[in-house]
């Protein structure tokens, strides 16, 4: 462009050239800024869209997934879908919705070897180690276990039965004589497969899968849980309480945290005090 003219013409061409260059650079730069900001906004995953097993943390996942859809194709239960433009999920990335199609936890995890970029971590070989999300009993007002009814469906469908969800027996204060069978989720075992959410018998599930970062709280770093520290150290870390001495008659002792009053008389029939309270009362008058 620059050597097509001579003298004056050349200068104009150079100026044009620089102008064009700057125009293009600015245009593309603006587009880049727009894209960058759009990507920030678009990369928040909605709470109910769950990534396939082995998916990297969301930020890394969006840099690794090339949107080929092979995991979708290799899922034998066809639960995975690719996000489409207009969905809340980033276009082209795989997800499933637990309520309509939970992960069936295949032992060979076929979606993972299908991934060409390790966006689904190939090191994950045991599906029980996957952490797609975490089940949370979100509504104690509608979960019928809290209402005192026997349900336990989530407990029974759980593929890691008895570990990821346990039943906590509690007293039913309303009726005064029944038990509540309360489902409790344990994050150290729950994979977030969503079978419990799918199976929940309510119109809208009372147990839902959330991404772990939404479902979990976190203790302050300075917190120490006393009984765990005690277990680790093998002894109490605080000065033990001085044992309280009860002034009790011979053959009787008191167990504060156990059975209460214990009577240990040698011959079982006779108590150290008379069973007739009048005897005790009369002692002061006629005894000595």
């Amino acid at each position: 462009m620059a050597n097509s003219g001579k003298g004056k013409g050349k200068e104009v061409n150079r100026r044009q050239f620089m102008g064009n260059l700057l125009r293009t650079a600015c245009g593309v730069g603006l587009m880049g800024m727009g894209l960058g900001m759009y990507s920030r906004q678009a990369s928040s995953l909605p709470a109910l869209a769950i990534r396939p097993p082995g998916a990297l943390p969301e930020e890394e996942f969006l840099g690794a997934c090339i949107r080929c859809g092979l995991c979708v194709r290799d899922c034998p239960y066809d639960i995975l879908m690719l996000g489409q433009l207009g969905d809340e999920v980033v276009a082209g990335t795989p997800y499933f919705t637990a309520r309509t199609g939970p992960c069936e936890m295949c032992e060979d995890i076929p979606c993972i070897p299908a991934c060409p970029t390790n966006a689904l971590d190939h090191d994950l070989t045991d599906i029980n180690d996957s952490r797609m999300g975490l089940a949370v009993v979100v509504d104690q007002e509608t979960c019928i276990a809290f209402l005192g009814l026997r349900c336990e469906v989530c407990f029974n469908v759980c593929p890691i039965r008895g570990e990821a969800i346990t039943l906590n027996y509690q007293h039913n204060k309303r009726s005064g004589k029944h038990a509540l069978f309360i489902p409790v989720v344990h994050s150290e075992a729950c994979t977030g497969c969503g079978l419990c959410e799918k199976a929940c018998i309510l119109e809208a599930a009372a147990i839902k899968i959330f991404p772990a970062h939404l479902a979990k709280g976190e203790l302050g770093k300075h917190y120490r849980i006393g009984w765990k520290e005690k277990e680790k150290a093998g002894k109490a870390l605080v000065t033990p309480d001085i044992e309280h001495r009860y002034n009790l008659p011979e053959g009787v002792r008191y167990d504060l945290q156990g059975e209460g009053l214990i009577i240990e008389s040698e011959d079982k029939g006779e108590l150290p005090v008379s069973s007739n309270p009048l005897d005790t009362l009369n002692q002061g008058f006629g005894g000595e």
Binding site: N20, V28, I66, L70, Q84, G92
Partner: protein, 301 residues
């Protein structure tokens, strides 16, 4: 437009319809059969090929990876699986032989939209066009590679019409039609050949590959050119024709060496004088010998 008939009319008269449209027909066949192969799985349950243009697996063994997408992922910090790397090697090898932007004209589904836009411009006789530099696409290519580096996310794939259209057809379109409509309107009303020829970084990537590729269009019978301008009229990258067609005086060989040429072969179709043929990039070195060797190659293709 008013003065001149549509380009290719003369070629159709002299060569017959089939001969004057052979590369166009083959190209459409190629575009639709690739889409068809990917659709056989979801529609008919015949899983000949799985995936989409970003990454696919043919017959369970042959991996094919889009090098541009994978490069973006690598820029974002990914260590790809060996299958993906094998796929990239195969794809690079293929396009280094047949021509880089063969992807654009023989594979890319957006080409159907931009060709339609071009046709619409011709029918509506729209002449106005915003000047966007043809180099913009290389800036865009740079952008698509810098953004993953900065954000750690494959940003371009959020909006890339190329992958979005193909994936949309195979997996479900969603609102992606809005972007595709945008590309169409952009090409019709804003800039002639705007998307493919000026903006698209995917095309730019394959263009860089194409600047080293083997199969090229050769104006080997350029002395027969009667200046009808039909080839310029149909070519989506007109600037690539002139040096090869009119460069004899300046000592420029007849091979279209520019990577921007998409090897669509439309210039071969519309030329009533049969000036152009497919040949290799080495046809420049021994013009006469190459000319004799290339004829059978063209017939075989």
């Amino acid at each position: 437009m008013a003065k001149k008939a549509r380009p290719g009319v003369e070629a159709t008269q002299t060569k017959g319809f089939l001969k004057a449209h052979q590369w166009l027909i083959l190209r459409r066949l190629s575009q639709f059969s690739i889409l068809g192969l990917f659709l056989l799985g979801p529609l008919a349950g015949i899983w000949f090929v799985k995936g989409n243009l970003a990454y696919s697996e043919t017959l369970g063994v042959l991996p094919l990876t889009d090098p541009h997408v994978l490069l973006q992922a690598v820029m974002a910090g990914v260590v790809p699986h060996p299958d993906a790397l094998i796929g990239v090697a195969i794809v690079l090898a293929i396009y280094l032989v047949v021509g880089g932007r063969v992807y654009c004209s023989w594979v890319c589904p957006v080409n159907l939209i931009t060709d339609l836009a071009c046709c619409t411009r011709r029918v509506l006789d729209i002449r106005s066009s915003t000047q966007i530099s043809r180099n913009t696409r290389y800036w865009m290519l740079g952008l698509t590679l810098v953004l993953p580096l900065v954000t750690g996310s494959i940003v371009w794939e959020l909006v890339n019409p190329v992958s979005m259209m193909f994936r949309g057809i195979v997996f479900g379109l969603g609102m992606a039609w809005v972007i595709l409509l945008g590309v169409f309107l952009f090409d019709v009303f804003v800039s002639k050949e705007g998307w493919c020829g000026r903006v698209c970084p995917v095309g730019a990537f394959y263009g860089l590959l194409g600047s080293k590729s083997l199969v090229r269009v050769v104006a080997d019978d350029r002395d027969k050119c009667d200046d009808c301008m039909d080839c310029f009229e149909v070519c989506p990258e007109q600037q690539v024709i002139r040096p090869a067609l009119k460069g004899a005086d300046k000592g420029i060989g007849p091979v279209i060496l520019s990577g921007s040429c998409t090897n669509c072969g439309r210039c071969i179709d519309v030329c009533a004088e049969d000036v152009f043929h497919f040949g290799t990039r080495f046809a420049n070195e021994k013009p006469t010998a190459a000319k004799i060797e290339e004829k059978p190659f063209v017939d075989a293709a």
